[in-house]
């Protein structure tokens, strides 16, 4: 492979430094007036793009029944073993015969890879754009089925952050 040798021979004006310093000062001076990148959280919030992998949700049918059939495919696909499902016979007459009675996701173990989303045959589990959720105890960061269904209600009408971008607190139903 050919080697490119770059040489730098400082000329007289470079050796004086004055011109170079003045150029440098002009660059930083010009930067003062440019647009700033800062997002003033929580007054302003970053709006994640489509396909962002944040907090999970469990989708519902139009009549309000859960789409999940507790097949445990997501649990198997999960590389972090953060999903815990307990299946049971569905109480309703029509539709799927199985449904989960327990669907816990440990949000601290989850690596937000989205494999559960890909594995799901019913498009029941999905990752949403919600990224700012927090709690005071580790136990509170395990989301249950109830919470996951509430996240669906919160996010089904488009990006949450586009609707709530004025500094209000978004109630994220993560605690059990």
């Amino acid at each position: 492979m050919a080697t490119v040798v770059k040489t730098y021979e400082p000329r007289f004006w470079d050796r004086i430094y004055i011109v170079a310093i003045a150029q440098g000062l002009l660059i930083t001076l010009g930067r003062i007036f440019r647009r700033k990148d800062t997002i003033r959280y929580p007054e302003e919030r970053h709006v994640p793009p489509q396909g962002y992998r944040g907090l999970h949700r469990l989708n519902k049918h139009e009549d309000g029944r859960i789409k999940c059939v507790a097949c445990e495919m997501c649990q198997t696909a999960c590389p972090a073993h953060c999903i815990d499902i307990e299946p049971s016979a569905a109480p309703w007459e029509e539709g799927e015969e199985r449904y989960p009675v327990k669907f816990d996701i440990d949000l601290l173990r989850c690596i937000y890879c989205g494999f559960c989303e890909i594995a799901c045959p019913k498009d029941a589990i999905e990752l949403t754009e919600i990224y700012d959720f927090s709690a005071y105890a580790r136990d509170d960061l395990v989301i249950d089925m109830d919470g996951l269904l509430k996240v669906y209600d919160l996010t089904k009408d488009g990006n949450v952050y586009e609707r709530h971008n004025r500094g209000e607190i978004i109630e994220v139903p993560i605690t059990r």
Binding site: R34, R35, K36
Partner: protein, 341 residues
């Protein structure tokens, strides 16, 4: 012969100058942080008060409430004395700076200057050198390796730039024929700004000024990355704040000194201040502080633009570039005076 009027005038001037320095310190601290933010596409601190202007007060409160830690290995008397030695000269130097045209009150003239010493220039040079002792002592008495290195660098830095700085000033003293800053300003008013007459001296002085105040690109004594803060590594709480304030105070005095020596002091170009009466005095004070603020801004601009010089690079610059250039300047000025005289 000092009567009540003179005494009162001096007291008011002392308080006013002290207040002005404090306000400028506060303003330059917040300006430093916000301008630095702007240069890096950030906003900087903007939460405390309007535009974040109360941030320095919050900082000061934090320093006051912090635990004052004195490490076991320090040399206690010197350790406690060092911040005082740094801070007092930092505030004293401004005393000889004339910051406005003489004011006329009730038929009497009040010079807008705390003390018109006949050796004003030497007074400033002497006191700033005393201030450096504070840094050296802080480094020595901390009994810790990084402060010691910082103190050593400080003393070596002192001798390598102060010679050049002195030579730059000698050129000015030669043409104005006096050591008081009032004379130097008056001479510039009568003719033109010294910057136009001796740009080389102005440049040397500017470079030396950054070394004098330990600001980037010559902040070798602090050098966070190599020396963990250098001389003030072992200082906390209020004692750290004293170093911090004296750094900014020194910046203000150095800017004011620069303005007096090379940029006409309180002179407004193409305006006859004396003809305007006391309005001219107010304008002259504003002009003076506008120039000082301009240099303070340059300090900030330079700090966030240029990387730090290496230790040997500073030595080389001081001894092999600035010193010969300073001598050349004195020689040329002398020659020019001999020819025109």
């Amino acid at each position: 012969m000092m009567d009540t009027f003179d005494l009162l005038a001096i007291l008011i001037k002392v308080v006013a100058v002290f207040a002005i320095i404090l306000v400028l310190i506060i303003a330059s601290i917040i300006a430093e942080r916000r301008v630095a933010g702007f240069m890096q596409y950030r906003l900087g601190p903007n939460r405390v008060g309007p535009l974040g202007f109360f941030q320095p007060f919050a900082d000061a409160l934090k320093f006051l409430l912090k635990e004052d830690i004195i490490p076991d290995q320090v040399n206690r008397p010197l350790y406690l004395l060092a911040p005082v030695i740094t801070m007092i000269p930092a505030f004293m130097t401004f005393a000889v700076i004339p910051f406005g045209a003489p004011l006329e009150i009730a038929g009497r003239t009040v010079a807008l200057q705390v003390a018109d010493l006949n050796i004003g220039v030497l007074y400033i040079l002497a006191l700033t050198s005393v201030g450096v002792y504070g840094l050296v002592l802080a480094g020595w008495s901390s009994g810790s390796k990084y402060p010691l290195l910082g103190g050593l660098r400080s003393s070596a830095q002192l001798i390598s730039y102060e010679l050049a700085m002195g030579l730059a000033i000698i050129g000015i003293i030669m043409i104005s024929g006096g050591l008081t800053l009032t004379e130097i300003v008056a001479h510039q008013q009568a003719t033109s700004w010294n910057f136009w007459k001796q740009p080389l001296a102005a440049l040397i002085f500017l470079v030396a000024m950054y070394a004098e105040t330990n600001r980037l690109p010559f902040d070798l004594t602090e050098a966070e990355q190599e020396l963990v803060g250098g001389y003030h590594t072992e200082y906390s709480s209020f004692k750290f704040m004293m170093f911090f304030m004296s750094e900014y105070s020194n910046m203000i005095t150095a800017s004011a000194f620069m303005v007096c020596l090379f940029f006409g002091g309180w002179d407004i170009p193409f305006v006859d201040e004396a003809a305007l009466g006391n309005l001219g005095v107010i304008l002259s004070v504003l002009a003076f502080f506008a120039k000082v603020v301009g240099f303070l801004f340059l300090y900030i601009l330079v700090r966030w633009t240029l990387p730090r010089f290496r230790y040997d690079q500073l030595m080389r610059l001081g001894w092999k570039v600035l010193l010969p250039l300073g001598l050349l300047n004195v020689f040329v000025v002398g020659l020019w005076m001999a020819v025109t005289a």
